[in-house]
Symmetry: C2
Subunit: 117 residues, 2 copies
């Protein structure tokens, strides 16, 4: 049972959600940061800098910086892996989970509004 969505509906949805994100002002996340954040919260742990960089097809500094920024915002936390101290495990936070949940609500709400078009 695939998710049915027509191109015109997809674009309307994309626009409305982005409009809300811009207007709320509280989402200064770039496309890269968004992809990283959602990967952390949707895929099974553990998450490492290298693993995320590989999944996104970007360099490690990009991930490190994104984690810096999202860490400042309280969306994620970093912890050294005690079994291999070279690794850093990225952990979820309450604030991050709330932000992701709010994004999901934003999308579903607008999807409902759009309906048949």
């Amino acid at each position: 049972m695939p998710l049915e969505i027509r191109p015109s509906q997809a674009l309307k949805l994309w626009r409305q959600v982005h409009l809300d994100l811009v207007r709320d002002g509280q989402a200064d996340l770039s496309a890269r940061q968004t992809a990283i954040l959602l990967t952390i919260y949707l895929e099974l742990p553990p998450h490492t800098v290298r693993g995320l960089a590989q999944q996104l097809g970007v360099t490690k500094p990009v991930v490190t910086r994104a984690l810096d920024t999202m860490g400042k915002l309280g969306l994620v936390t970093r912890k050294r892996d005690e079994f291999d101290r070279r690794n850093v495990v990225i952990q979820r936070t309450v604030a991050g989970a709330l932000a992701v949940e709010r994004l999901a609500d934003l999308i579903t709400d607008h999807a409902r509004e759009i309906g048949g078009s």
Copy 2:
């Protein structure tokens, strides 16, 4: 006939599309720029800097800079309004229409993949 989408589906969709945008690398558009671009291509012309700024809830320089960037990328064009030469009319381009269309395909394709989850 509202568009049915569950929060978990919405997040998966959002992540997959952002992953593709990042991996393709050709979409360095910020949330603001995305909102502006889609507004230009979905809403009825004419579009002005002031009108876009008002719809997005941002200042005029933000729109001007976004148009600069997207103009360099060939996604939009500016033309002075001959009837009120203070105004600038933002116009669509073939490249911009193609980019928007590709985004729509990206979304609908991933929506189809996600299906019942």
